[in-house]
C-alpha cells in the first residue's frame, strides 16, 4: 500500500544515510546443507542494551526444503527517491528471498512484527521459468524499474544466466531484463552506478559446475567466470566486456561507489591459478570506456599439507579465497573476507587505485582455526564470509558459510556456523565486539546478513 510520506528508511544521499539511526535487528539467511529441514531467515538482536543482544530472537522457516537461501534483499530502498523513477511512497517492509538451488522466491513481510516476519507470497520456479526463462536465483536489488533478481541459469539450468524484474508492489514476475546481452553468458553478481546509467554484472558458472562443489578441472581450465560486463541500465543493452584473463577465476562480488557522482567500484577475484592469491580490482572510467586495475593482491600462505583438505594438499598453501567484499557508505573503507585464511581485512580506499590496509582480524580459517573471545569452542572453522556494514560505518557483521556443496571441500570435517560483529575505529582499525558471538544452532549455516532499515549493500542513491 502506498503511504503519504516517503518510507523513513529512504535517504536521498549516502551522506544522509550514514546518519540513520543504529540498526537493532539483523535478518540472516540460514540454510541446511543436507537439505533435510527447511531453510530459514533468522532475526538476530543487535541492540547492545537488550537482554537478548547477540541472540537469535525470531525465525521464519521456508515452506519447502532444499532452497539454499543465499542473497536476499528489500522490495524498496533509497533509489525510490530517484528523480527519473520516483516511487517514494512504497514501503520498505518486504524481504525478497530467493532459493539458489530451488529457484523459488519468498516474499516475507517484516512490518507487523519485525521480530516475527511472515511469508506472504511464494513464487514457484515454474512461474519464474514461464515468465522470465530463468532459474537458480541469486541476488536481489531494488532499483529504477522495480525489483531486480539475477539468476545463474536459464530454465533448463544452462547458460545464459541473467536478470529479471519483479513488480515492487504486486511481486509479479515482469520478465527478462536484457534487451541485448551481447557476449554475456555466465552470471553471478550485479549492481549499478545510478548516476551513470550503468549496470555491471559478474560471472560464476553453470549449475553443473557448482551445484556439486567446485570442479577442479573447470577451475584449472579457467572455465569459471572471469569477466565483467557493463550495460546501459535503461536501454538494457550490453556495452562492454572486460576479461580478467586465464589466470583469474571467480570474479565475484561487485561494490560500486555509493556516491552517484563517482564512477568507480571494486570487485573481488577469489583465486589466481598462478599462485592461489586473491585480488581486488578497481573499475573506473577511462575516456568513453570502462577499465580495470588490480589494486590489491593477497598472497596464499604456506601450510603443512597434513593440515590441508585433499583439494589443497598438493599446493601446500592456504589460499585467501576472497569470497565477499563490502564498501562503507562514505566509500572510504573496503572490507575483504578471506574465507580460506580466516582474515577480515579493512582497506582505506580513499584513493580507489591505491588502497592501504587499515585493519585486520582473524577468525576461523582452514589452518588457523582462530577463535573468538566469546566462543566456547576454542577452534573455529569456516572463515569470514558474507559481510555487512552498518550505514554509519561503525559496525561490521559477518557469517562464516559460503555454499552448501563447497563448504566441505575446504572444511571437510564440517562447518559450525557463527556470526560475529566488529567495532570500527574513527579512523579505521577493526576489533571484535567481545560480547557478540552467535553460535549458530546446528542444522543450519548462516549466510547473508541484512540490517533493519538498510545497510551498505542494499541501497543505492541518485544524489551526492
Amino acid at each position: 500500500m502506498a503511504t503519504w510520506r516517503p518510507d523513513p528508511s529512504f535517504y536521498p544521499s549516502p551522506r544522509m544515510a550514514a546518519k540513520a539511526p543504529k540498526e537493532t535487528l539483523a535478518y540472516v539467511a540460514a540454510f541446511d546443507p543436507d537439505r533435510q529441514r527447511p531453510d530459514a531467515i533468522a532475526v538476530v538482536d543487535l541492540d547492545p542494551a537488550s537482554a537478548s543482544y547477540s541472540q537469535i530472537v525470531g525465525q521464519v522457516d521456508m515452506p519447502n526444503v532444499g532452497d539454499e537461501l543465499h542473497h536476499f534483499g528489500w522490495n524498496a530502498c533509497s533509489s525510490c527517491l530517484c528523480p527519473n523513477a520516483p516511487h517514494p511512497h512504497v514501503e520498505r517492509r518486504y524481504l525478497v528471498v530467493p532459493g539458489l538451488r530451488s529457484s523459488r522466491l519468498h516474499i516475507i513481510d517484516t512490518k507487523p512484527d519485525p521480530r516475527k516476519p511472515e511469508i506472504v507470497r511464494v513464487i514457484e520456479p515454474e512461474e519464474v521459468a514461464e515468465r522470465a526463462n530463468y532459474s537458480r536465483l541469486h541476488t536481489i536489488h531494488c532499483g529504477p524499474e522495480g525489483i531486480y533478481v539475477n539468476a545463474l541459469a536459464d530454465r533448463d539450468g544452462k547458460a545464459p544466466g541473467g536478470i529479471f524484474l519483479l513488480d515492487h508492489d504486486s511481486f509479479d514476475v515482469l520478465g527478462q531484463w536484457e534487451m541485448d546481452r551481447g557476449p554475456q553468458k555466465l552470471a553471478y553478481d550485479f549492481w549499478w552506478h545510478l548516476g551513470h546509467d550503468t549496470m555491471i554484472t559478474s560471472e560464476w558458472g553453470t549449475p553443473d559446475t557448482f551445484e556439486n562443489g567446485l570442479v577442479p578441472e573447470v577451475l584449472l581450465g579457467s572455465q569459471y567466470g572471469r569477466r565483467l560486463h557493463f550495460w546501459d541500465l535503461h536501454t538494457r543493452k550490453h556495452l562492454q566486456e572486460i576479461d580478467f584473463g586465464e589466470e583469474h577465476q571467480l570474479v565475484f562480488e561487485l561494490r560500486p561507489a555509493h556516491d552517484p557522482t563517482k564512477a568507480h567500484g571494486f570487485v573481488g577475484c577469489v583465486i589466481s591459478l598462478k599462485d592461489l592469491s586473491a585480488s581486488i580490482w578497481t573499475w573506473y572510467r577511462e575516456g568513453n570506456q570502462w577499465a580495470v586495475k588490480k589494486v590489491i593482491e593477497i598472497p596464499a600462505e604456506p601450510a603443512d599439507p597434513d593440515l590441508l583438505p585433499p583439494l589443497l594438499k598438493g599446493f601446500q598453501a592456504v589460499p585467501p579465497l576472497v569470497t565477499d567484499i563490502d564498501l562503507s557508505m562514505d566509500d572510504r573503507f573496503l572490507y575483504v573476507s578471506c574465507w580460506g585464511t580466516g582474515d577480515m581485512i579493512q582497506y582505506d580506499v580513499s584513493d580507489p587505485l591505491a588502497p592501504k590496509e587499515a585493519g585486520r582480524v582473524r577468525i576461523g580459517g582452514i589452518v588457523a582455526r582462530a577463535t573468538h573471545p566469546k566462543a566456547s569452542n576454542g577452534r573455529l572453522n569456516g572463515g569470514p564470509q558474507m559481510v555487512e556494514i552498518s550505514r554509519d560505518g561503525k559496525r561490521v557483521y559477518f557469517t562464516n558459510s559460503l555454499y552448501g556443496a563447497i563448504d566441505p571441500q575446504f572444511y571437510p570435517e564440517g562447518l559450525d556456523g557463527w556470526m560475529v560483529k566488529l567495532d570500527v575505529g574513527d579512523n579505521g582499525g577493526i576489533s571484535f565486539d567481545g560480547k557478540f558471538f552467535v553460535d549458530w544452532p546446528k542444522g543450519h549455516r548462516p549466510h547473508q546478513v541484512r540490517l533493519e532499515g538498510g545497510d551498505c549493500s542494499s541501497d543505492s542513491y541518485c544524489y551526492s
Binding site: W4, L81, N84, V90
Partner: protein, 208 residues
C-alpha cells in the same frame, strides 16, 4: 465578461505540477548536483517546461478540433469519460508507470521525459474544463475555433508559466540553500492527491 476563476485554476494546476518533485524540479536539482553546476539546474528547467507545454498543447489542440464539430455537452462527456478512465487506470496501475530515462539524459531526453510524465498523468485533460469555460464565456453552446485557439494558447502559457515559476523557485531554494534532506518528510503523495483531483473533475464534468 472577464472570468477570473478559470485562469486561477490553470495557474494553480501549473503550480501543483511545479511543486511535485516527480514532475521535474527534482530531476533538475539531481543533474545540478551530479555536475556540480547551478547552470545545469537552470538549463534543465527549459526542456522540462517545454515537454510539459507540448503535452498539454496536444490535448488542448485535440479539444479544439473536437469542439469544432461537437456541441458543448458532447465535448464535456467525452472529456469526462477520458478523465474518469485515466483516474481508474492511475488508481489501479499508476505505480507501474516506468518512463525509461537515465540520469545522464540530455536536454532532448529531459523534454521527452517531461512530455511523457505530463501525458501519462493527464495534465492536459485536467485543463479542459477551465479552457472550455473560457471559450464559452462569451457564447452559448458552441466553442468557436479561432477564439478557442487563442484561449488555448493563453491557457498553455499561463499553466506552463506558473509551473516554470514554481519549479524554478523550488529548484533554486533546494539546490542553493535547503538541500535534499527535506524530501524525506515533505514529499507527500502527490499522485494520490492528483488521482483525487482527477476523479473530482471527471465527476463534475459529468454532472455539470
Amino acid at each position: 465578461m472577464m472570468d477570473f476563476w478559470p485562469w486561477l485554476s490553470l495557474a494553480g494546476l501549473g503550480a501543483f505540477h511545479g511543486a511535485n518533485p516527480a514532475m521535474g524540479w527534482l530531476f533538475a536539482v539531481a543533474l545540478g548536483l551530479h555536475r556540480q553546476s547551478a547552470r545545469t539546474v537552470w538549463l534543465s528547467l527549459v526542456p522540462i517546461a517545454l515537454g510539459h507545454a507540448v503535452s498539454i498543447g496536444t490535448v488542448l489542440a485535440a479539444m479544439v478540433a473536437f469542439g469544432a464539430v461537437m456541441d458543448l455537452r458532447g465535448l464535456q462527456l467525452v472529456t469526462a469519460v477520458f478523465i474518469l478512465g485515466l483516474t481508474g487506470y492511475l488508481a489501479i496501475y499508476g505505480h507501474r508507470h516506468r518512463v525509461r530515462v537515465g540520469m545522464q539524459a540530455g536536454m532532448a531526453g529531459l523534454a521527452a521525459w517531461s512530455f511523457l510524465m505530463a501525458t501519462s498523468h493527464g495534465a492536459g485533460l485536467m485543463l479542459v474544463p477551465a479552457v472550455l469555460s473560457l471559450c464559452l464565456s462569451d457564447q452559448a453552446g458552441v466553442a468557436g475555433t479561432t477564439d478557442s485557439l487563442s484561449v488555448s494558447l493563453a491557457a498553455i502559457a499561463v499553466h506552463t508559466g506558473a509551473m516554470l515559476a514554481v519549479i524554478a523557485a523550488i529548484a533554486l531554494m533546494v539546490f542553493t540553500w535547503l538541500g535534499l534532506a527535506g524530501l524525506r518528510s515533505a514529499w507527500i503523495n502527490f499522485d494520490r492527491l492528483w488521482i483525487a483531483a482527477l476523479g473530482a473533475t471527471g465527476i463534475i464534468l459529468l454532472v455539470w
